[in-house]
Point group: C2
Chain length 181, copies 2
Amino acid sequence: MRPDPIRLAVLVLLLFIAVAATPQNSAKHTSSQAAARQSKSDQEIRAVYDGWAKAFEAKDLDGIMAVYAPGDALVAYDIVPPLQYVGKDSYRKDYQEFLAMYDGPIKVEYRDLRIMSSGDVGFIHAVERMSGTLKNGQKSDIWLRATSGLRKIHGKWLIVHDHISVPADFDTGKAVLDLKP
Amino acid sequence: MRPDPIRLAVLVLLLFIAVAATPQNSAKHTSSQAAARQSKSDQEIRAVYDGWAKAFEAKDLDGIMAVYAPGDALVAYDIVPPLQYVGKDSYRKDYQEFLAMYDGPIKVEYRDLRIMSSGDVGFIHAVERMSGTLKNGQKSDIWLRATSGLRKIHGKWLIVHDHISVPADFDTGKAVLDLKP
């Protein structure tokens, strides 16, 4: 059969319309995929946080450090001095000393947790209750504030920044350790 | 002129190739645009921070609050109690009280500032020196830690979360106000 020029022209037109329309459809698709990914990212970040809490409660130092980015990608402002911990090694040492203050397990509880993420960057913050028994037998039960910044590195969300603190009373110079949310 | 079926078929093929190739080109284009946007986002977030510092140094409360997201989108953990400020109004009151402690301007200096952003979410952190003269005549010169989470809302980066603190000494119960980076 010899091709009919009119049918061919119509085919060109239809093909053009179909292909030209594709980017719009794919953009819509991408947009709903982005929303799903964002919610998925929030869930993944929440899982990182829960993983940290589980390891922290068990005083499992390797499990704790598994949620952090390697090397100097990690910069942490902890509840104790110095001003900042630069690098995973120094923060690990800080954790080791902190965990050593406790006798037995530590209990962690969050409140008012919020997660925001987009693409490969996210952050999470919450007020956090940390309770346990210190080596000197004293019970410790503190509400503190926790903020973490995360980055998705090679498909895995890792914490690149921690900021943990209690407020300070400028009149007395005391750290305020007895606040409740 | 009667259309030549062969030329039409070639046209179809060329058109198909051209249009089918478009998404790939546009994906490449989008990728380099994304990198440029990210860097642009980092610059915009830096500008928000610098805007805050300028307003803070001038003790311009409206200028300070202009960098924050409206209403309950803002949750802040400040250097002073309570544990958290929920909402822009309560944080504004906190700023008002803080600024009132100082006589004359306040000087702000950052160090080790880092910005990460992707899409419409970003965070920034730095160690920050805040110096000035208190109303009682005493000089105040403190290094603190500052972390902010930002969201791009209606095309504008706004701070939705602040975390400002100094470390605490658990042996003395004191807030540690004399640290240097």
